[in-house]
Subunit: 426 residues, 2 copies
């Protein structure tokens, strides 16, 4: 955001109006929350059938008794077949396990820290390790790095993904840079989709670290908000064709498809990486919850069933995103105080306010009873150098609540913004 | 086992008979498996209701929507209340998470390797770490240590638990010894139950390592095979009273209560350890599968319901253990070739054959179509120095199969045993 120059008197008047509006806002006694990207009750209700599945079934297609210990080590094939085309991973290289892709990313880091990943000379626990963190990004990715003492190096996002000139330069020069966080489609929080060229450059770039990994967190592969269903490049194939078959770990889950807390997660990669994963995961656990995998396979049916289910999600979510954007436009367009993203999918809108104002906006909103993700959360170490980006998660509140939230937020944006402009003019 | 001295002619005759019996055994073309402690289909069927639960419910007692992300961080209170008395952990100090206690043990090791556990000066990844491994013991405990390069020091089991004279001496002298594996009740594989005195000594002993941990794997707390329901000491309270409140991690799960692959696991410890656990686990995951916890709470009802359910398991399992022991007694008693345990609970019988014969017995059984847990599996690094202990898991096969398996095994024990005796006499 750059500041629009306005006459001092105009700013004073606008600030006075914002102060009156904020006083009115706080008098409403709101208690609203848009801190996280949680599915709404209506979305969860769409998966109500899961609560009584698998009913009288307990055998997988291959005859496996899902109730007992035992194989298949990669999880139920019928579920992996549903998600293989969606995650762009061959079914033989796709593992279904656990109920959270975040857990799988954590465990991949753990296994790399404590055992030797294909291509590595030694375990990461004995080395300085750094990751590239495209910003703004997902706070839980950054929390994983911070927890393990992995240094994060921010790289700016563009509309086509991370700035690849910077990425290529960094990974070529620094052997300690061993990974990059990527949310390739409908990125958290700005909704950006990686272009084919970005994927190609990620797959082909020269890395100083022989054990470099792309953490390809395909969190929103079928989470479209418009009729245009964006496709991103097949990164595994691109890496293989570039001679770097082991470069990418693909992650996904049903968390925002069925039930956020009771879904199934997926890990996909090269055959060597999958073998490495299974050899480590097989010591941690006798096997995943296969009953939940069967439950999901029965509920979704096939990939077409999954896509149809996601269109019903879209019908619920689209009006929510539209509501927020409509109110932002009505209240802020032309003010020079903010811009906001127009995602074609995913779970978030990125709101960018005047430099130095994001923390103030979040504080003002909180004091008015609107809980927003802390400013800075989308940056490593919770530090947005511009103090500008606020992540908006419009999925959980009702349309009526979103009207209040969006309207209230714009009041806070105006108050913080005009206070800053007024201060600069004094 | 000590060898009974017998006249050479008698041994030759017994060996000839064993060879004829073994030839008859192999001619049967058996294909039977008792490698692991898996619940049988009849046991799993007892939990069939779980396959259609929670039906139309999705809210926990405190109103939590179990389908979505979010708290409670310790898992559903109503489920923790059912298991708190059974695992002897105050409900506030008991966490329900995941579907496998093995995963929780793995993750405790990971968190200690990569972050600083209460009482520690630095993370374990930068130190030489050793664990005491009471033997015979659980192969998957040993696999965890081996995977992380944690040295295992065997300590012999007694009828009252590990030999505490040896344990006390080792932990007092060696700061690198930072843990001990314990299955306190109906131990895997020998069925031993820790005496109150063993627990007291574990709680009070002086350890050179300030961050020493007892991994108290209470895998079979309600898994009784007789009318006598053995109780072991409350180790958490004992440790607290001894001034070592953070010494013990308690683990448990419903794997052998409801469904082996789709249950709920538990971690219990001191408040400081529970905080430590949650701070690490909360970075790994947004939360556990609460729907499965609700499912289990609804199915079990309360602690009495759990105990009643376990009596129905006992009714299924008791005849299986009796069958194996009856056939072992009929075929082997007085032979001097083997002894076997008489567990009052749990999942295993430990069969001890003549020194140097266990591998031969397992090989002979395999060649006759009977898959048995590899000899040595109950020792660190899969190496039984006596080559004597074989773990028998009688829970999964039917009674008819167990008759064949036990009978067949005794033939292999006789063949391997008399071959050894004959060789010694030559």
């Amino acid at each position: 955001m750059t500041t629009t120059s306005q006459p001092a008197a105009a700013v004073t008047a606008l600030l006075d109006q914002a102060r009156r509006d904020y006083a009115a806002l706080t008098s409403q006694g709101l208690a609203l929350d848009l801190t996280r990207g949680k599915p709404s009750l209506a979305q969860l209700d769409m998966a109500a059938e899961l609560l009584q599945l698998p009913a009288d079934r307990y055998r997988a297609a291959d005859g496996t008794d899902c109730r007992n210990y035992g194989p298949p080590k990669k999880g139920l094939r019928e579920l992996r077949e549903i998600f293989a085309p969606v995650l762009q991973v061959p079914v033989e290289q796709l593992v279904a396990v656990g109920n959270s892709s975040l857990e799988l990313m954590h465990d991949c880091l753990v296994h790399m820290l404590l055992s030797v990943v294909p291509g590595a000379e030694r375990r990461w626990a004995d080395q300085d390790v750094a990751f590239l963190a495209p910003v703004p990004g997902y706070d839980r990715h950054f929390a994983l790095c911070e927890r393990f003492g992995i240094e994060m190096i921010p790289v700016p996002m563009t509309a086509d993904g991370p700035d690849m000139d910077i990425v290529e330069d960094l990974v070529r020069s620094h052997p300690k840079i061993k990974g990059i966080w990527c949310v390739p489609k409908y990125s958290n929080p700005d909704g950006a989709c990686y272009s084919d060229e970005t994927a190609r450059r990620l797959a082909t770039m020269e890395t100083a670290a022989p054990d470099f990994r792309i953490f390809w967190d395909n969190a929103y592969p079928v989470h479209h908000l418009t009729e245009e269903e964006v496709e991103v490049a097949d990164i595994l194939t691109a890496c293989t064709e570039a001679g770097h078959p082991d470069r990418t770990f693909v992650f996904g889950s049903t968390s925002k498809i069925t039930m956020a807390g009771a879904g199934v997660a997926f890990f996909g990669s090269s055959p060597a990486n999958v073998d490495w994963w299974i050899s480590n995961a097989g010591i941690r656990s006798i096997g995943p919850d296969k009953v939940n995998q069967l439950r999901h396979a029965l509920f979704l049916g096939d990939t077409d069933g999954l896509r149809a289910h996601m269109r019903r999600h879209r019908d619920i979510l689209r009006p929510k995103f539209d509501t927020v954007r409509r109110i932002f436009a009505r209240e802020l367009e032309g003010s020079g105080l903010a811009t906001w993203s127009d995602p074609k999918g995913g779970y978030f809108i990125a709101l960018s306010v005047l430099k130095g104002c994001a923390r103030d906006v979040v504080r003002l909103a909180k004091e008015a009873g609107i809980a927003v993700t802390p400013a800075g959360a989308t940056y490593p170490y919770r530090s947005d150098p511009e103090d500008s980006v606020i992540r908006i998660g419009p999925t959980y509140p009702s349309l009526e609540e979103l009207e209040q939230i969006a309207q209230g937020l714009t009041v806070c944006v105006r108050l913080a913004g005009y206070e800053k402009l007024a201060a600069e003019q004094n």
